[in-house]
Amino acid sequence: MSSKSKPKPKIGVFKFASCDGCQLSLLDAEDELLGVAGAVEIAYFPEATRAMSKGPYDIGLVEGSITTYQDAQRIQEVRRQCKTLITIGACATAGGIQALRNWKDVDEFIRVVYATPQFISTLKLSTPIAEHVPVDFELRGCPINKYQLIELITATLAGRKPNVPSYSVCIECKRKSNVCITVAKGVPCLGPVTQAGCGALCPSYDRGCYGCYGPMETPNTASMTSQFRILGQADSQVARAFRGFNAWAWQFRKASEECERT
Protein backbone atom coordinates (compact mmCIF):
# COMPACT_ATOMS: atom_id res chain seq x y z
CA MET A 1 0.00 0.00 0.00
CA SER A 2 2.33 2.73 -1.13
CA SER A 3 -0.50 5.14 -1.85
CA LYS A 4 -0.02 8.19 0.31
CA SER A 5 -3.20 9.97 -0.57
CA LYS A 6 -5.59 7.11 0.18
CA PRO A 7 -6.82 7.07 3.78
CA LYS A 8 -5.68 4.05 5.71
CA PRO A 9 -8.26 1.39 6.52
CA LYS A 10 -9.58 1.79 10.05
CA ILE A 11 -9.45 -1.09 12.49
CA GLY A 12 -11.46 -1.36 15.69
CA VAL A 13 -10.83 -3.96 18.38
CA PHE A 14 -13.83 -4.79 20.58
CA LYS A 15 -13.94 -6.85 23.72
CA PHE A 16 -16.78 -8.93 25.13
CA ALA A 17 -16.57 -11.70 27.76
CA SER A 18 -12.97 -12.82 27.49
CA CYS A 19 -9.55 -12.77 29.09
CA ASP A 20 -8.01 -10.24 26.64
CA GLY A 21 -5.41 -12.77 25.54
CA CYS A 22 -6.46 -12.71 21.90
CA GLN A 23 -6.34 -8.95 21.44
CA LEU A 24 -2.99 -8.99 23.18
CA SER A 25 -1.81 -11.24 20.32
CA LEU A 26 -1.99 -8.15 18.15
CA LEU A 27 0.29 -6.21 20.52
CA ASP A 28 2.43 -9.31 20.84
CA ALA A 29 3.04 -9.23 17.09
CA GLU A 30 6.16 -7.12 17.78
CA ASP A 31 8.07 -7.33 14.48
CA GLU A 32 4.90 -7.14 12.45
CA LEU A 33 3.14 -4.55 14.62
CA LEU A 34 4.88 -1.57 13.06
CA GLY A 35 3.91 -2.88 9.66
CA VAL A 36 0.31 -3.19 10.80
CA ALA A 37 0.41 0.30 12.31
CA GLY A 38 1.78 1.59 9.03
CA ALA A 39 -0.85 -0.11 6.92
CA VAL A 40 -3.94 0.62 8.99
CA GLU A 41 -5.28 3.19 11.37
CA ILE A 42 -5.88 1.58 14.73
CA ALA A 43 -8.97 3.61 15.37
CA TYR A 44 -10.41 1.90 18.42
CA PHE A 45 -8.36 -0.35 20.66
CA PRO A 46 -8.90 0.52 24.34
CA GLU A 47 -6.46 -2.16 25.47
CA ALA A 48 -3.65 -0.42 23.60
CA THR A 49 -4.44 3.27 23.30
CA ARG A 50 -6.67 5.98 24.75
CA ALA A 51 -7.02 7.61 21.35
CA MET A 52 -10.37 6.54 19.99
CA SER A 53 -11.91 7.53 16.72
CA LYS A 54 -15.49 6.97 15.87
CA GLY A 55 -16.73 4.39 13.42
CA PRO A 56 -17.48 3.19 10.93
CA TYR A 57 -14.51 0.84 10.81
CA ASP A 58 -13.22 -1.08 7.83
CA ILE A 59 -12.29 -4.09 9.95
CA GLY A 60 -13.68 -4.93 13.36
CA LEU A 61 -11.90 -7.53 15.45
CA VAL A 62 -14.21 -8.90 18.09
CA GLU A 63 -12.96 -10.84 21.08
CA GLY A 64 -15.15 -12.53 23.68
CA SER A 65 -18.51 -14.19 23.97
CA ILE A 66 -21.93 -12.79 24.71
CA THR A 67 -22.87 -13.36 28.35
CA THR A 68 -24.96 -10.34 29.30
CA TYR A 69 -28.03 -8.62 27.98
CA GLN A 70 -26.04 -5.40 27.52
CA ASP A 71 -23.40 -7.17 25.42
CA ALA A 72 -26.11 -8.75 23.30
CA GLN A 73 -27.23 -5.20 22.49
CA ARG A 74 -23.71 -3.80 22.09
CA ILE A 75 -22.66 -6.38 19.50
CA GLN A 76 -25.50 -5.20 17.26
CA GLU A 77 -24.03 -1.70 17.31
CA VAL A 78 -20.50 -3.02 16.70
CA ARG A 79 -21.77 -4.96 13.70
CA ARG A 80 -23.41 -1.84 12.30
CA GLN A 81 -20.13 0.05 12.64
CA CYS A 82 -17.88 -2.57 10.95
CA LYS A 83 -17.71 -3.26 7.22
CA THR A 84 -15.85 -6.52 7.83
CA LEU A 85 -16.39 -8.19 11.17
CA ILE A 86 -13.87 -10.78 12.28
CA THR A 87 -14.25 -12.73 15.50
CA ILE A 88 -11.06 -13.80 17.20
CA GLY A 89 -10.55 -16.60 19.68
CA ALA A 90 -12.51 -19.44 21.22
CA CYS A 91 -14.77 -17.12 23.27
CA ALA A 92 -15.94 -15.17 20.25
CA THR A 93 -16.14 -18.16 17.92
CA ALA A 94 -17.49 -20.83 20.30
CA GLY A 95 -18.49 -19.25 23.62
CA GLY A 96 -15.18 -19.94 25.33
CA ILE A 97 -14.40 -21.76 28.56
CA GLN A 98 -17.17 -19.75 30.22
CA ALA A 99 -19.66 -21.70 28.11
CA LEU A 100 -19.22 -24.53 30.62
CA ARG A 101 -21.95 -22.74 32.54
CA ASN A 102 -24.33 -23.58 29.71
CA TRP A 103 -24.74 -27.04 31.24
CA LYS A 104 -25.25 -25.72 34.77
CA ASP A 105 -27.64 -23.65 36.82
CA VAL A 106 -26.27 -20.10 36.56
CA ASP A 107 -28.62 -18.78 39.26
CA GLU A 108 -27.14 -21.25 41.68
CA PHE A 109 -23.60 -20.07 40.84
CA ILE A 110 -24.65 -16.50 41.49
CA ARG A 111 -26.18 -17.38 44.85
CA VAL A 112 -23.11 -19.33 45.95
CA VAL A 113 -20.39 -17.02 44.64
CA TYR A 114 -21.61 -13.46 45.14
CA ALA A 115 -22.31 -11.74 48.43
CA THR A 116 -25.01 -9.61 46.81
CA PRO A 117 -26.51 -11.74 44.06
CA GLN A 118 -29.03 -9.06 43.09
CA PHE A 119 -26.17 -6.96 41.64
CA ILE A 120 -25.46 -9.65 39.07
CA SER A 121 -27.26 -9.57 35.78
CA THR A 122 -26.19 -12.23 33.33
CA LEU A 123 -27.53 -14.48 30.63
CA LYS A 124 -27.97 -18.19 31.18
CA LEU A 125 -25.74 -19.02 28.22
CA SER A 126 -22.35 -17.90 26.98
CA THR A 127 -22.67 -17.80 23.21
CA PRO A 128 -20.46 -17.05 20.23
CA ILE A 129 -20.78 -13.78 18.34
CA ALA A 130 -22.09 -15.53 15.22
CA GLU A 131 -25.22 -16.52 17.16
CA HIS A 132 -26.06 -12.82 17.42
CA VAL A 133 -24.83 -11.11 14.25
CA PRO A 134 -23.47 -12.17 10.87
CA VAL A 135 -19.69 -12.70 11.03
CA ASP A 136 -17.39 -12.42 8.02
CA PHE A 137 -14.57 -14.59 9.33
CA GLU A 138 -13.97 -16.60 12.49
CA LEU A 139 -10.36 -16.91 13.61
CA ARG A 140 -10.09 -19.81 16.01
CA GLY A 141 -7.85 -20.54 18.93
CA CYS A 142 -7.34 -20.12 22.64
CA PRO A 143 -5.50 -17.93 22.25
CA ILE A 144 -5.36 -17.16 18.55
CA ASN A 145 -2.06 -17.52 16.73
CA LYS A 146 -0.61 -14.06 16.10
CA TYR A 147 0.75 -15.09 12.70
CA GLN A 148 -2.71 -16.21 11.65
CA LEU A 149 -4.08 -12.86 12.82
CA ILE A 150 -1.49 -10.91 10.81
CA GLU A 151 -2.17 -13.14 7.80
CA LEU A 152 -5.90 -12.54 8.17
CA ILE A 153 -5.51 -8.75 8.41
CA THR A 154 -3.04 -8.78 5.50
CA ALA A 155 -5.31 -10.91 3.33
CA THR A 156 -8.34 -8.79 4.19
CA LEU A 157 -6.48 -5.61 3.21
CA ALA A 158 -5.22 -7.22 0.00
CA GLY A 159 -8.67 -8.56 -0.83
CA ARG A 160 -7.49 -12.17 -1.02
CA LYS A 161 -8.52 -15.35 0.75
CA PRO A 162 -6.61 -15.82 4.01
CA ASN A 163 -4.39 -18.89 4.35
CA VAL A 164 -6.14 -20.21 7.42
CA PRO A 165 -6.67 -23.93 6.93
CA SER A 166 -9.59 -25.78 8.49
CA TYR A 167 -8.03 -29.25 8.35
CA SER A 168 -6.71 -31.23 11.33
CA VAL A 169 -3.81 -30.49 13.66
CA CYS A 170 -2.33 -33.82 12.47
CA ILE A 171 -1.28 -32.24 9.16
CA GLU A 172 0.78 -29.59 10.96
CA CYS A 173 2.15 -32.22 13.30
CA LYS A 174 3.28 -34.46 10.45
CA ARG A 175 4.78 -31.61 8.45
CA LYS A 176 6.91 -30.90 11.51
CA SER A 177 8.10 -34.55 11.52
CA ASN A 178 6.59 -35.13 14.96
CA VAL A 179 6.09 -38.72 16.04
CA CYS A 180 2.38 -39.31 16.74
CA ILE A 181 2.01 -39.45 20.52
CA THR A 182 -1.25 -41.39 20.32
CA VAL A 183 0.26 -44.15 18.22
CA ALA A 184 3.73 -44.27 19.80
CA LYS A 185 2.81 -43.56 23.42
CA GLY A 186 -0.90 -44.16 23.79
CA VAL A 187 -1.55 -40.51 24.73
CA PRO A 188 -5.16 -39.41 24.08
CA CYS A 189 -4.96 -36.47 21.68
CA LEU A 190 -7.75 -34.41 20.13
CA GLY A 191 -5.52 -33.46 17.19
CA PRO A 192 -7.43 -35.50 14.57
CA VAL A 193 -10.71 -33.67 15.29
CA THR A 194 -9.21 -30.25 15.98
CA GLN A 195 -8.53 -27.48 13.49
CA ALA A 196 -4.91 -26.65 12.71
CA GLY A 197 -3.45 -23.24 13.47
CA CYS A 198 -1.41 -23.64 16.64
CA GLY A 199 1.46 -25.36 14.82
CA ALA A 200 0.74 -28.60 16.73
CA LEU A 201 2.05 -26.96 19.87
CA CYS A 202 1.08 -29.50 22.54
CA PRO A 203 1.87 -32.70 20.61
CA SER A 204 5.29 -31.19 19.89
CA TYR A 205 5.84 -31.23 23.66
CA ASP A 206 4.44 -34.70 24.26
CA ARG A 207 1.02 -33.53 25.38
CA GLY A 208 -2.22 -34.54 23.75
CA CYS A 209 -4.06 -31.79 21.87
CA TYR A 210 -6.60 -29.96 24.06
CA GLY A 211 -8.71 -28.86 21.11
CA CYS A 212 -8.02 -25.12 21.55
CA TYR A 213 -8.75 -24.39 17.88
CA GLY A 214 -12.13 -26.07 17.95
CA PRO A 215 -13.56 -28.70 15.61
CA MET A 216 -11.79 -29.21 12.29
CA GLU A 217 -13.83 -29.07 9.07
CA THR A 218 -15.25 -32.60 9.26
CA PRO A 219 -14.60 -33.93 12.76
CA ASN A 220 -15.51 -37.57 13.36
CA THR A 221 -16.03 -37.18 17.09
CA ALA A 222 -17.73 -40.58 17.42
CA SER A 223 -14.63 -42.35 16.13
CA MET A 224 -12.42 -40.13 18.29
CA THR A 225 -14.52 -41.05 21.34
CA SER A 226 -14.14 -44.77 20.59
CA GLN A 227 -10.39 -44.32 20.32
CA PHE A 228 -10.20 -42.46 23.65
CA ARG A 229 -12.07 -45.35 25.23
CA ILE A 230 -9.61 -47.83 23.71
CA LEU A 231 -6.82 -45.74 25.23
CA GLY A 232 -8.40 -46.28 28.62
CA GLN A 233 -10.39 -43.07 29.06
CA ALA A 234 -13.65 -43.27 30.99
CA ASP A 235 -16.66 -41.59 29.40
CA SER A 236 -16.48 -38.83 31.99
CA GLN A 237 -12.89 -38.14 30.91
CA VAL A 238 -13.81 -38.12 27.22
CA ALA A 239 -16.65 -35.70 27.93
CA ARG A 240 -14.26 -33.45 29.82
CA ALA A 241 -11.76 -33.55 26.94
CA PHE A 242 -14.40 -32.21 24.56
CA ARG A 243 -15.49 -29.64 27.16
CA GLY A 244 -12.54 -27.33 26.97
CA PHE A 245 -12.29 -23.88 25.49
CA ASN A 246 -14.54 -24.89 22.60
CA ALA A 247 -17.07 -26.87 24.61
CA TRP A 248 -20.06 -25.10 23.02
CA ALA A 249 -18.90 -25.62 19.41
CA TRP A 250 -21.72 -27.87 18.28
CA GLN A 251 -19.64 -30.87 17.25
CA PHE A 252 -17.72 -30.95 20.54
CA ARG A 253 -20.90 -30.20 22.46
CA LYS A 254 -22.69 -33.12 20.84
CA ALA A 255 -19.71 -35.42 21.48
CA SER A 256 -19.52 -34.53 25.17
CA GLU A 257 -23.27 -34.90 25.63
CA GLU A 258 -23.20 -38.32 23.98
CA CYS A 259 -20.48 -39.41 26.41
CA GLU A 260 -22.58 -38.23 29.35
CA ARG A 261 -25.58 -40.14 28.07
CA THR A 262 -23.82 -43.51 28.02
Binding site: K176, P192, T218
Partner: protein, 376 residues
Protein backbone atom coordinates in the same frame (compact mmCIF):
# COMPACT_ATOMS: atom_id res chain seq x y z
CA UNK B 1 20.29 -58.49 -8.28
CA UNK B 2 22.71 -58.61 -5.41
CA UNK B 3 26.16 -57.98 -6.83
CA UNK B 4 28.28 -61.08 -7.31
CA UNK B 5 31.32 -59.69 -5.54
CA UNK B 6 29.86 -59.58 -2.06
CA UNK B 7 31.96 -58.52 0.86
CA UNK B 8 31.71 -58.41 4.60
CA UNK B 9 32.17 -55.37 6.79
CA UNK B 10 32.71 -55.53 10.53
CA UNK B 11 30.26 -53.52 12.60
CA UNK B 12 33.07 -51.06 13.38
CA UNK B 13 33.19 -50.20 9.68
CA UNK B 14 29.75 -48.64 9.80
CA UNK B 15 31.07 -45.61 11.66
CA UNK B 16 33.81 -45.41 9.11
CA UNK B 17 31.24 -45.57 6.30
CA UNK B 18 29.40 -42.60 7.82
CA UNK B 19 32.72 -40.74 8.05
CA UNK B 20 33.64 -41.51 4.43
CA UNK B 21 30.28 -40.26 3.19
CA UNK B 22 30.53 -37.08 5.28
CA UNK B 23 34.02 -36.49 3.90
CA UNK B 24 32.68 -36.90 0.37
CA UNK B 25 30.28 -34.06 1.11
CA UNK B 26 27.11 -35.92 1.99
CA UNK B 27 24.86 -35.18 4.89
CA UNK B 28 24.20 -38.63 6.28
CA UNK B 29 20.57 -39.30 7.19
CA UNK B 30 19.73 -42.49 8.97
CA UNK B 31 17.58 -44.16 11.60
CA UNK B 32 17.81 -42.87 15.14
CA UNK B 33 15.66 -43.12 18.26
CA UNK B 34 13.59 -40.05 19.04
CA UNK B 35 10.31 -39.52 20.88
CA UNK B 36 9.55 -43.20 21.27
CA UNK B 37 10.12 -44.20 17.66
CA UNK B 38 12.84 -44.85 15.11
CA UNK B 39 12.88 -41.80 12.88
CA UNK B 40 15.10 -40.62 10.06
CA UNK B 41 17.37 -37.77 11.00
CA UNK B 42 20.91 -36.49 10.72
CA UNK B 43 23.41 -39.08 11.97
CA UNK B 44 26.84 -37.99 13.03
CA UNK B 45 28.27 -41.40 13.86
CA UNK B 46 27.28 -45.04 14.34
CA UNK B 47 26.47 -44.12 17.94
CA UNK B 48 23.34 -42.36 16.69
CA UNK B 49 21.91 -45.56 15.20
CA UNK B 50 19.25 -47.49 17.17
CA UNK B 51 21.55 -50.21 18.55
CA UNK B 52 19.58 -52.93 20.33
CA UNK B 53 16.16 -51.48 19.55
CA UNK B 54 13.23 -52.96 17.72
CA UNK B 55 9.62 -52.00 17.18
CA UNK B 56 6.24 -53.60 17.73
CA UNK B 57 3.57 -52.44 15.32
CA UNK B 58 -0.17 -52.99 15.15
CA UNK B 59 -2.96 -50.95 13.57
CA UNK B 60 -2.84 -47.60 15.37
CA UNK B 61 -0.04 -48.70 17.67
CA UNK B 62 3.77 -48.48 17.68
CA UNK B 63 6.11 -49.27 20.55
CA UNK B 64 9.86 -49.42 20.86
CA UNK B 65 11.26 -52.53 22.50
CA UNK B 66 14.70 -53.64 23.56
CA UNK B 67 16.27 -56.44 21.54
CA UNK B 68 18.36 -59.21 22.98
CA UNK B 69 21.22 -58.31 20.66
CA UNK B 70 22.77 -55.03 19.59
CA UNK B 71 21.49 -55.06 16.02
CA UNK B 72 21.52 -51.65 14.37
CA UNK B 73 18.75 -52.36 11.84
CA UNK B 74 16.60 -54.85 13.73
CA UNK B 75 13.22 -53.20 13.16
CA UNK B 76 10.77 -52.40 10.38
CA UNK B 77 9.99 -48.97 8.93
CA UNK B 78 9.11 -46.12 11.30
CA UNK B 79 6.74 -43.15 11.09
CA UNK B 80 8.75 -41.24 8.52
CA UNK B 81 9.88 -42.04 5.05
CA UNK B 82 12.65 -40.56 2.91
CA UNK B 83 9.94 -38.45 1.33
CA UNK B 84 10.63 -35.70 3.83
CA UNK B 85 14.11 -35.31 2.34
CA UNK B 86 13.28 -35.79 -1.34
CA UNK B 87 9.90 -34.06 -1.44
CA UNK B 88 10.00 -31.65 1.51
CA UNK B 89 6.89 -30.89 3.57
CA UNK B 90 7.25 -27.13 3.13
CA UNK B 91 9.28 -25.31 0.55
CA UNK B 92 9.33 -21.74 -0.73
CA UNK B 93 9.03 -21.80 -4.50
CA UNK B 94 9.83 -18.14 -5.02
CA UNK B 95 9.38 -14.70 -3.64
CA UNK B 96 8.59 -11.44 -5.35
CA UNK B 97 8.76 -7.73 -4.72
CA UNK B 98 6.87 -4.73 -5.88
CA UNK B 99 9.46 -2.39 -7.32
CA UNK B 100 8.50 0.92 -8.83
CA UNK B 101 5.02 -0.24 -9.69
CA UNK B 102 6.15 -3.52 -11.24
CA UNK B 103 6.19 -7.04 -9.91
CA UNK B 104 9.61 -8.67 -9.86
CA UNK B 105 10.13 -12.37 -9.13
CA UNK B 106 13.19 -13.16 -7.05
CA UNK B 107 15.18 -16.34 -6.33
CA UNK B 108 13.38 -18.51 -8.83
CA UNK B 109 16.27 -21.00 -8.85
CA UNK B 110 16.36 -24.17 -6.76
CA UNK B 111 18.77 -23.53 -3.93
CA UNK B 112 21.76 -25.87 -4.16
CA UNK B 113 22.02 -27.98 -1.06
CA UNK B 114 24.28 -30.59 0.43
CA UNK B 115 23.44 -33.99 -1.07
CA UNK B 116 22.01 -36.59 1.29
CA UNK B 117 23.29 -40.07 1.93
CA UNK B 118 20.31 -42.17 2.96
CA UNK B 119 21.45 -44.89 5.32
CA UNK B 120 19.04 -47.75 5.93
CA UNK B 121 16.52 -47.57 3.09
CA UNK B 122 14.40 -50.73 2.97
CA UNK B 123 13.07 -52.52 -0.11
CA UNK B 124 9.61 -50.97 0.22
CA UNK B 125 11.20 -47.55 0.54
CA UNK B 126 13.27 -47.97 -2.61
CA UNK B 127 10.06 -49.03 -4.34
CA UNK B 128 8.42 -45.87 -2.99
CA UNK B 129 11.25 -43.71 -4.28
CA UNK B 130 10.83 -45.36 -7.69
CA UNK B 131 7.10 -44.53 -7.57
CA UNK B 132 7.84 -40.90 -6.73
CA UNK B 133 10.48 -40.79 -9.48
CA UNK B 134 7.81 -41.83 -11.94
CA UNK B 135 5.38 -39.19 -10.69
CA UNK B 136 7.73 -36.27 -10.16
CA UNK B 137 10.40 -36.80 -12.81
CA UNK B 138 9.16 -38.88 -15.68
CA UNK B 139 6.46 -36.71 -17.15
CA UNK B 140 6.76 -33.65 -19.32
CA UNK B 141 7.04 -31.49 -16.21
CA UNK B 142 9.87 -32.44 -13.90
CA UNK B 143 9.84 -31.22 -10.32
CA UNK B 144 13.17 -29.39 -10.01
CA UNK B 145 13.19 -29.54 -6.21
CA UNK B 146 12.74 -33.30 -6.13
CA UNK B 147 15.07 -33.71 -9.09
CA UNK B 148 17.99 -32.04 -7.39
CA UNK B 149 17.55 -33.85 -4.11
CA UNK B 150 17.02 -37.20 -5.78
CA UNK B 151 19.92 -36.98 -8.17
CA UNK B 152 22.41 -36.08 -5.46
CA UNK B 153 21.30 -38.78 -3.05
CA UNK B 154 23.58 -41.69 -2.19
CA UNK B 155 21.51 -44.67 -1.11
CA UNK B 156 22.64 -47.36 1.31
CA UNK B 157 19.90 -49.93 1.37
CA UNK B 158 19.45 -52.39 4.20
CA UNK B 159 17.78 -55.76 3.80
CA UNK B 160 14.96 -56.40 6.22
CA UNK B 161 15.56 -59.46 8.37
CA UNK B 162 12.24 -59.24 10.17
CA UNK B 163 8.82 -57.86 9.37
CA UNK B 164 6.42 -55.85 11.49
CA UNK B 165 2.86 -57.09 11.88
CA UNK B 166 1.79 -54.23 9.61
CA UNK B 167 4.18 -55.05 6.75
CA UNK B 168 2.74 -56.44 3.51
CA UNK B 169 5.45 -55.71 0.95
CA UNK B 170 5.70 -59.38 -0.03
CA UNK B 171 2.14 -59.30 -1.39
CA UNK B 172 2.78 -56.02 -3.23
CA UNK B 173 5.90 -57.46 -4.91
CA UNK B 174 8.09 -54.68 -3.54
CA UNK B 175 10.06 -56.56 -0.91
CA UNK B 176 11.45 -57.66 1.43
CA UNK B 177 14.43 -58.35 -0.84
CA UNK B 178 16.15 -55.21 -2.10
CA UNK B 179 16.74 -55.73 -5.79
CA UNK B 180 17.94 -52.42 -7.16
CA UNK B 181 18.01 -48.66 -6.85
CA UNK B 182 20.89 -48.47 -4.36
CA UNK B 183 24.57 -47.57 -4.27
CA UNK B 184 25.33 -50.04 -1.51
CA UNK B 185 23.18 -52.69 0.10
CA UNK B 186 23.82 -54.13 3.53
CA UNK B 187 22.48 -57.22 5.27
CA UNK B 188 23.05 -57.26 8.99
CA UNK B 189 24.47 -60.54 10.28
CA UNK B 190 24.70 -61.37 13.95
CA UNK B 191 25.93 -64.76 15.18
CA UNK B 192 28.88 -66.74 16.41
CA UNK B 193 30.94 -65.18 13.61
CA UNK B 194 30.33 -61.79 15.17
CA UNK B 195 28.31 -58.68 14.30
CA UNK B 196 28.91 -57.82 10.66
CA UNK B 197 27.32 -56.79 7.39
CA UNK B 198 27.17 -58.48 4.05
CA UNK B 199 27.67 -55.69 1.54
CA UNK B 200 27.10 -55.50 -2.20
CA UNK B 201 27.49 -52.58 -4.56
CA UNK B 202 24.92 -51.26 -6.98
CA UNK B 203 26.77 -48.39 -8.65
CA UNK B 204 30.22 -47.04 -9.40
CA UNK B 205 29.78 -44.56 -6.58
CA UNK B 206 29.06 -47.49 -4.29
CA UNK B 207 32.22 -49.29 -5.40
CA UNK B 208 34.22 -46.13 -4.79
CA UNK B 209 32.94 -45.80 -1.23
CA UNK B 210 33.44 -49.49 -0.50
CA UNK B 211 37.11 -49.36 -1.49
CA UNK B 212 37.69 -46.92 1.35
CA UNK B 213 36.43 -49.46 3.89
CA UNK B 214 38.06 -52.57 5.25
CA UNK B 215 35.93 -55.19 3.54
CA UNK B 216 36.77 -58.87 3.29
CA UNK B 217 35.30 -61.29 0.74
CA UNK B 218 32.08 -62.92 1.91
CA UNK B 219 31.93 -66.61 2.63
CA UNK B 220 29.18 -69.03 1.64
CA UNK B 221 28.01 -69.03 5.29
CA UNK B 222 27.67 -65.26 5.26
CA UNK B 223 25.50 -65.47 2.15
CA UNK B 224 23.35 -68.22 3.56
CA UNK B 225 22.80 -66.33 6.79
CA UNK B 226 21.82 -63.22 4.83
CA UNK B 227 19.37 -65.18 2.72
CA UNK B 228 17.82 -66.72 5.83
CA UNK B 229 17.36 -63.21 7.23
CA UNK B 230 15.48 -61.98 4.19
CA UNK B 231 13.47 -65.19 4.19
CA UNK B 232 12.42 -64.46 7.77
CA UNK B 233 11.22 -60.99 6.71
CA UNK B 234 9.09 -62.65 4.06
CA UNK B 235 6.89 -64.11 6.80
CA UNK B 236 4.23 -61.41 6.92
CA UNK B 237 0.83 -61.61 8.58
CA UNK B 238 -0.82 -59.04 6.32
CA UNK B 239 -1.29 -59.09 2.57
CA UNK B 240 -3.31 -57.60 -0.22
CA UNK B 241 -4.54 -59.90 -2.96
CA UNK B 242 -3.74 -57.71 -5.95
CA UNK B 243 -5.38 -59.97 -8.53
CA UNK B 244 -7.51 -57.74 -10.73
CA UNK B 245 -7.46 -55.08 -8.03
CA UNK B 246 -8.00 -52.21 -10.45
CA UNK B 247 -11.19 -53.76 -11.82
CA UNK B 248 -12.25 -54.79 -8.32
CA UNK B 249 -12.17 -51.23 -7.01
CA UNK B 250 -13.53 -49.67 -10.19
CA UNK B 251 -16.57 -51.89 -10.10
CA UNK B 252 -17.12 -51.33 -6.38
CA UNK B 253 -17.37 -47.57 -6.48
CA UNK B 254 -20.64 -48.16 -4.64
CA UNK B 255 -20.12 -50.65 -1.84
CA UNK B 256 -21.44 -50.63 1.75
CA UNK B 257 -17.90 -51.03 3.00
CA UNK B 258 -17.15 -47.40 2.13
CA UNK B 259 -19.78 -46.29 4.66
CA UNK B 260 -18.38 -48.69 7.19
CA UNK B 261 -14.83 -47.33 6.89
CA UNK B 262 -16.13 -43.75 6.82
CA UNK B 263 -17.71 -44.29 10.23
CA UNK B 264 -14.21 -44.89 11.61
CA UNK B 265 -12.15 -42.57 9.41
CA UNK B 266 -11.16 -39.31 11.13
CA UNK B 267 -10.29 -37.60 7.81
CA UNK B 268 -7.22 -36.38 9.71
CA UNK B 269 -4.89 -37.13 6.76
CA UNK B 270 -2.29 -39.01 8.79
CA UNK B 271 -2.27 -41.90 6.30
CA UNK B 272 -1.37 -39.61 3.43
CA UNK B 273 1.27 -37.75 5.42
CA UNK B 274 3.09 -40.97 6.37
CA UNK B 275 2.63 -42.63 2.97
CA UNK B 276 5.98 -42.71 1.18
CA UNK B 277 4.36 -42.30 -2.24
CA UNK B 278 1.62 -39.71 -1.54
CA UNK B 279 2.96 -36.66 -3.29
CA UNK B 280 0.13 -34.14 -3.20
CA UNK B 281 0.85 -30.59 -2.26
CA UNK B 282 -0.96 -27.30 -2.28
CA UNK B 283 0.46 -23.94 -3.18
CA UNK B 284 -0.12 -20.89 -1.01
CA UNK B 285 0.60 -17.31 -1.87
CA UNK B 286 1.37 -15.06 1.06
CA UNK B 287 1.99 -11.35 1.19
CA UNK B 288 3.34 -9.18 3.94
CA UNK B 289 1.25 -6.44 5.45
CA UNK B 290 2.67 -3.74 3.17
CA UNK B 291 1.76 -5.74 0.07
CA UNK B 292 5.27 -5.06 -1.28
CA UNK B 293 6.61 -8.56 -0.70
CA UNK B 294 5.01 -11.82 -1.74
CA UNK B 295 6.02 -15.47 -1.44
CA UNK B 296 4.74 -18.70 -2.90
CA UNK B 297 4.99 -21.76 -0.67
CA UNK B 298 4.36 -25.39 -1.46
CA UNK B 299 3.16 -27.63 1.37
CA UNK B 300 2.20 -31.26 1.70
CA UNK B 301 -1.55 -31.49 1.32
CA UNK B 302 -3.95 -34.38 1.37
CA UNK B 303 -6.99 -35.67 -0.47
CA UNK B 304 -8.54 -35.97 3.01
CA UNK B 305 -8.89 -32.18 3.33
CA UNK B 306 -11.90 -30.28 2.05
CA UNK B 307 -9.79 -27.55 0.48
CA UNK B 308 -7.91 -30.09 -1.61
CA UNK B 309 -10.92 -30.72 -3.83
CA UNK B 310 -12.30 -27.20 -3.55
CA UNK B 311 -13.45 -25.75 -6.82
CA UNK B 312 -15.76 -22.81 -7.31
CA UNK B 313 -18.84 -23.49 -5.26
CA UNK B 314 -17.32 -25.90 -2.80
CA UNK B 315 -15.48 -29.12 -2.14
CA UNK B 316 -16.07 -31.97 -4.55
CA UNK B 317 -15.57 -34.66 -1.91
CA UNK B 318 -17.49 -33.51 1.15
CA UNK B 319 -18.06 -36.86 2.84
CA UNK B 320 -15.48 -38.99 4.60
CA UNK B 321 -16.69 -41.86 2.46
CA UNK B 322 -15.84 -40.02 -0.75
CA UNK B 323 -12.42 -39.07 0.54
CA UNK B 324 -11.39 -42.47 1.84
CA UNK B 325 -12.65 -44.06 -1.37
CA UNK B 326 -10.72 -41.54 -3.45
CA UNK B 327 -7.51 -42.19 -1.53
CA UNK B 328 -7.68 -45.98 -1.60
CA UNK B 329 -8.96 -46.24 -5.15
CA UNK B 330 -6.27 -43.88 -6.39
CA UNK B 331 -3.53 -45.62 -4.44
CA UNK B 332 -4.41 -49.15 -5.53
CA UNK B 333 -6.27 -48.78 -8.82
CA UNK B 334 -6.26 -45.54 -10.80
CA UNK B 335 -2.56 -45.09 -10.00
CA UNK B 336 -2.01 -48.06 -12.30
CA UNK B 337 -3.77 -46.27 -15.17
CA UNK B 338 -2.05 -43.01 -14.37
CA UNK B 339 1.53 -44.10 -13.68
CA UNK B 340 1.75 -47.76 -14.71
CA UNK B 341 2.14 -49.26 -11.25
CA UNK B 342 0.39 -49.48 -7.92
CA UNK B 343 0.84 -46.48 -5.65
CA UNK B 344 1.12 -48.80 -2.64
CA UNK B 345 4.42 -50.42 -1.68
CA UNK B 346 3.14 -52.37 1.33
CA UNK B 347 5.15 -50.54 3.99
CA UNK B 348 2.19 -50.55 6.38
CA UNK B 349 2.69 -47.00 7.65
CA UNK B 350 -0.91 -46.01 6.95
CA UNK B 351 -2.01 -48.92 9.14
CA UNK B 352 0.29 -48.25 12.08
CA UNK B 353 -0.01 -44.46 12.07
CA UNK B 354 -3.76 -44.20 11.60
CA UNK B 355 -4.86 -43.00 15.04
CA UNK B 356 -7.85 -45.37 14.86
CA UNK B 357 -5.99 -48.21 13.16
CA UNK B 358 -7.80 -48.42 9.82
CA UNK B 359 -6.13 -51.24 7.92
CA UNK B 360 -5.97 -50.89 4.14
CA UNK B 361 -5.40 -54.64 3.73
CA UNK B 362 -8.57 -55.34 5.71
CA UNK B 363 -10.55 -52.78 3.70
CA UNK B 364 -9.49 -54.36 0.41
CA UNK B 365 -10.31 -57.79 1.79
CA UNK B 366 -13.78 -56.62 2.84
CA UNK B 367 -14.47 -55.15 -0.60
CA UNK B 368 -13.26 -58.35 -2.23
CA UNK B 369 -15.28 -60.78 -0.19
CA UNK B 370 -17.39 -58.71 2.18
CA UNK B 371 -21.13 -59.19 2.29
CA UNK B 372 -23.68 -56.56 1.46
CA UNK B 373 -23.45 -54.92 4.89
CA UNK B 374 -19.75 -54.29 4.45
CA UNK B 375 -18.87 -55.67 7.86
CA UNK B 376 -15.52 -57.36 8.20
Amino acid sequence: MAHRSEHVLGVDQLGKLIGVLARKGYEVIGPTVRDGAIVYDHVESAEDLPAGWTDEQEPGRYRLKRREDMALFGYAVGPQSWKKYMHPAEVRLWSAERQGGTFRILNNEVKPQRPHALLGARACELAAIAVQDRVLLEDKYRDPIYDQRREGAFIIAVQCTQAAATCFCASMGTGPQVSGGFDLVLTELIGPEGHRFLVATGSDRGVEVLTELEAVPATEEDRQQAEAGVEAARQQVRSIDTTGIKELLYKNFEHPRWDNVASRCLTCANCTMVCPTCFCTSVEDVTDITGDHAERWRRWDSCFTQSFSYIHGGSVRTSAKARYRQWMTHKLASWIDQFGSSGCVGCGRCITWCPVGIDITEEVGAIRDGGKDGNP
